[in-house]
């Protein structure tokens, strides 16, 4: 068991060391694609939710999703055009996107819907 953990750790370390450019490229590509899908999803649900839940109202918590998605989308497109972007620049951007996006979901879950169970954190 102990040997397996050591071996796993070695493999993990060598993977993140030897495939830095691949990881950078993949993460940037995922970031860009995520932005496109999120934009489509948010627009789609903003359009259909009022028809399913007539009492639902658009609030600021939903609207802040748009600038986030657009800003990170533009950043991802720009970085994808620059060749050989280093992992140390890409990882913080992806991490910050994930964190900001989750905070916005928490905003919707907690403050936009204080009287119901969290729709996203389940």
């Amino acid at each position: 068991m102990f040997e397996q953990i050591i071996s796993y750790n070695e493999n993990r370390r060598s993977y993140f060391k030897n495939h830095q450019s691949y990881i950078s490229e993949t993460n940037l590509s995922v970031l860009k694609q995520s932005m496109v899908f999120l934009l489509i999803l948010v627009l789609f649900f903003i359009m259909i939710t009022p028809t399913i839940f007539p009492t639902w109202k658009m609030t600021i918590y939903y609207l802040v999703l748009f600038p986030t998605v657009i800003c990170y989308g533009v950043l991802a497109i720009f970085l994808r055009k620059c060749h050989n972007v280093q992992l140390k620049f890409v990882q913080p951007i992806c991490l910050s996107f994930y964190f900001v996006f989750m905070l916005e979901l928490i905003g919707i879950d907690v403050w936009a819907n204080p009287k119901t169970s969290a729709p996203f954190f389940r």
Binding site: N11, Y15, H19, T26, L95, M102, W111, S117, R122
Partner: protein, 374 residues
């Protein structure tokens, strides 16, 4: 979302934990207790699930990465010798030559195991593979990790040495390799104690900008010379000789007729040092030997072995000899032969019988034309 991005597992744990804590604190400060309990349960379940999925996806990615690394290695390393294969080696050298600083001297070595065919034929390919493997190990242990070492094919190896001080140092390194390779002992169940030698052709590249094919050809010529002078030795050429016109005062006379050769020597010997060859192969040897001293070649078109056209073609296709002017000396009055020689790169044609005044004038003009006036 976390499984889409490639993060280290500890980052997943940290980030998700942080998000969960923020969520739970927010929920418990805003919502009713019963709703909070449900949200907390859901959040913890989701957290555990996301960690498990992240860990599994990361495992798959690491395995995929290992396979990719293995494939990359298989594509660049020669399995028999453990050094770079031909394509990777050529690519590495080409890239280095394109990007190197002009003041960084480097050297290209072409190594060839002497009589290797006999090893395969007489003892077998398995033993031949052992010999190749030992050569690969020797090169890896002898040269620095920054040098580019590869197997060019068969029993030929390439080494690009970086930051080489001078030709003397290069020659010492080559001789060291030759001696080390000779001293390797092979365990074989035969009565014969097998020892092998190798020949090395090397070229020292100074500030000149040469590409890989040009450099390789020069090193290959040096190897040819090392082989033809008796195997188990090294010959070092320098690209600096390409630039050096001043100090060249030798004329190579390649003529099979002794009478004509003596006549030419007597005409030019008072002004120049003379090297004489009676056939094409000797001409090539002398060219290689006195490469940095030869100012001009007087070449007979019809000689035994390699004829004048062959020598001319050889010279004009090699960077090391291309700039040496060649005057054809021939008894052939056919205009077509003359035109063919000029087309192949000769600067002038002298028709026999030899007239001393004509020879002196033509040689003087040719040297002047080539910028090598003495």
């Amino acid at each position: 979302m976390p499984v889409l991005f490639i993060f280290d597992f500890w980052i997943y744990i940290f980030l998700n934990s942080l998000v969960e804590v923020v969520f739970l604190l927010s929920t418990w400060s805003v919502k009713a207790v019963e709703i909070c309990k449900t949200d907390t349960f859901n959040a913890i379940f989701g957290f555990m699930l996301s960690l498990a999925v992240s860990w599994m996806v990361l495992q798959i990615r690491i395995k995929e990465g290992q396979v990719k690394t293995k494939l990359m290695k298989m594509g660049t390393v020669d399995y028999l010798t453990g050094i770079l294969n031909k394509t990777a080696c050529e690519q590495g050298i080409t890239e280095y030559l394109e990007t190197r600083e002009q003041q960084d001297n480097c050297a290209l070595l072409v190594l060839d195991i002497d009589n290797f065919k006999n090893v395969n034929d007489r003892i077998g390919h398995k033993f031949g593979d052992i010999v190749l493997n030992r050569m690969g190990s020797l090169l890896q242990h002898t040269f620095r990790t920054g040098d580019i070492i590869g197997r060019f094919g068969g029993d030929e190896f390439l080494v690009l040495l970086k930051n080489v001080k001078d030709a003397e140092m290069l020659e010492n390194r080559c001789n060291h390799i030759i001696e080390e390779f000779k001293s390797i002992k092979y365990e074989q169940n035969t009565e014969v104690d097998w020892k092998f030698s190798c020949s090395i052709g090397a070229v020292l590249l100074g500030e000149e900008r040469l590409d890989f094919p040009q450099l390789f050809q020069m090193a290959d010529d040096a190897l040819y010379e090392a082989k033809s002078f008796g195997k188990g030795r090294c010959v070092v050429h320098s690209t600096k000789a390409l630039e050096r016109n001043a100090g060249r005062n030798m004329i190579l006379i390649a003529e099979d007729s002794e009478v004509n050769r003596v006549a030419l020597v007597s005409i030019l010997a008072d002004q120049f040092e003379i090297a004489e060859a009676a056939d094409g192969n000797s001409t090539l040897s002398l060219l290689s030997q006195y490469n940095d001293q030869i100012a001009m070649v007087l070449l007979d078109l019809y000689m035994p072995g390699l004829n004048g056209y062959g020598v001319l073609n050889y010279m004009k296709s090699r960077t090391a000899y291309r700039s040496i002017p060649v005057i054809i000396v021939t008894a052939d009055t056919d205009r077509a032969s003359e035109e063919e020689a000029l087309r192949q790169g000769a600067v002038d044609v002298i028709i026999k019988p030899i007239d001393p005044a004509v020879v002196r004038l033509r040689v003087k003009n040719a040297l002047k034309y080539a910028g090598r006036e003495l």
